[in-house]
Symmetry: C2
Subunit: 145 residues, 2 copies
Amino acid sequence: MQNRFVVIPIGYIEKTEETTSIIVHEAYKGALLNIEFFSHLIVLWWITDRDSTENRAVLQVRPRGRPPLSGVFTCRSPSRPNPIGLTVVGLEAYEKEANRLIIDRIDAFHGTPVIDIKPYIPASDSIRNVVLPDWFEDLKSPWDP
Amino acid sequence: MQNRFVVIPIGYIEKTEETTSIIVHEAYKGALLNIEFFSHLIVLWWITDRDSTENRAVLQVRPRGRPPLSGVFTCRSPSRPNPIGLTVVGLEAYEKEANRLIIDRIDAFHGTPVIDIKPYIPASDSIRNVVLPDWFEDLKSPWDP
């Protein structure tokens, strides 16, 4: 089995005082056709500052700085074998000429490379009756007041 | 900005007549600590059979073989600039000695490389009031009868 794969940036995060956006590289503009019909997107991004041999070897952390020690596959640690971030975002506007998707928020820094955008489809992505350990049950939704 | 990143497999999909599983490579066993407390996982996998220059250059397709033509960032096309598959799965059992996660189903072939596993956390991942174009509104949940 092949033991490494190559990922290329398709855009980047732009944060200003006013807005948070995904700027899609001109070469991938065509991949945005019909994006304005979707309210939410799944954004995959590259956690650039954790792309080191040391950070990629981290297997256990304390999520949110608290006990208990947890595997990186059981929390959303930015240090993980493949530093891929995943965030569901709300799409607020599409400025077509600028290849710009204005989004509500994202937990990625300005300049972060974006590697994929997928539409959020409730039939497969929105799960009810989820069971979580108690150390995650008090998490607030980023959309709650 | 760096223009390519390296992704490594952390496991693979195993499908038998009886079960569908993720087998995690021994080196990443520690990253599964506490996985048994979660009912659902987000699995990122490498769409191996679309990892070609030709498939990665596809920017528009007809989702589900029907009109209208759509950008690959506005559907879940396996042909896309970075062939990363994303599936939310139900975790049925964790066989610790075998590094095996038995899951309910996944739309990936036997042998597919898995590149990341994240816990499904409703606060950030389960969205209500999603707007979709009408050509996706009849999608059935894989968990519905």
